[in-house]
């Protein structure tokens, strides 16, 4: 079928977003047409505003409107601990736990030879620079338990060892609420391996 032109264009734009298929894109576009005019205008404004005002913190490479970002410049944060994550969304996930009060370092990617992403393509140099310059007591690696995450963790551990600081990795194991019976073997193996003495 042929959509009326402006609708087709809007559907296409929605479809370019991640996890939005053609059906959802159509549904969202139809919804927008039915929204009050000023809401649509504000939505459009929020899009361009977010794009134009948000950039990256030059210290930790978190997305932010200011550099240093809100976290790096927060005086109540523990400046001696750096949690290393791959992307801003991982930082956000950790922030939501309200369990961490140190700083972050966003690598902006993971080492992935298959995708042609080497150590120099992500913010590793900058991490080493920070560790060198500042008085850091602990580095926490919070990378995904994937091949790329593991490779990057290994690489970082090697590079960070000479600094003689504590290096830790978040625990891999059974997620809360899961059942031993249904958990995959890899997870169970990691849970066994990472067992904690009581």
């Amino acid at each position: 079928m042929e959509y009326t032109k402006p609708l087709a264009k809007l559907i296409e734009h929605f479809q370019h977003l991640p996890s939005i298929g053609p059906k959802t894109a159509q549904r969202l576009a139809l919804y927008v047409v039915k929204m009050p005019e000023n809401e649509v205008r504000n939505f459009a404004l929020a899009l361009t505003e977010a794009k134009s005002t948000i950039s990256y913190c030059e210290e930790c490479f978190n997305m932010s409107c200011s550099s240093p970002c809100e976290i790096c410049s927060n005086p109540s944060r523990n400046k001696g601990v750096i949690c290393v994550v791959a992307e801003t969304k991982d930082l956000m996930a950790i922030e939501k736990t309200n369990e961490y009060n140190g700083l972050y370092h966003v690598l902006q990617g993971l080492i992935s030879p298959i995708d042609g992403i080497g150590p120099d393509d992500i913010r590793i140099k900058e991490l080493l620079f920070r560790v060198n310059k500042n008085n850091i007591s602990e580095i926490i690696l919070a990378l995904n338990p994937s091949v790329e995450g593991e490779a990057t963790s290994l690489y970082l551990t090697k590079l960070l060892k000479p600094f003689n600081i504590k290096i830790s990795r978040i625990a891999f194991g059974l997620p809360m609420g899961s059942e031993l019976e249904y958990v995959d073997e890899m997870t169970l193996a990691r849970a066994l391996e990472g067992r904690v003495e009581l």
Copy 2:
């Protein structure tokens, strides 16, 4: 956690869209920030443009930039058949089958006493007006097999009977690729009821 302001605003806007939860909203907003600037601008433009240019066809109440819409004004369409649907998205679904060449009538809702939607709140008057004015040979009711859809179909059938035209309803039954064993009883009952002689 606290998002940086423009990001929080954008996430909120995404979250207002149907079927977009907080996690997806965050993911979409982060994606937008990483998109090229001109793409974001075009997206924002497509939003306001779709809203400002699209309205409803005064004939069939389909969403369109023109009135009569592309379908109503298409000379190769069979003007003697009207397919009645609840929403523009239903019209789109039928158009995608490439099996229908008649006109449409979008009711813009279904009769639903629980939600306070009566026959006068949807485009029933306008349908009767069209049937009265034009030379219509068949009305096809293509409303959802829900309580509201059934109620509206019944109501329309009563109103249209006096016009002495053919009134049909799309078939309810087993969807293609389904298995008798797993299909719910209601659907199976309707499939039996609607059996076709071979």
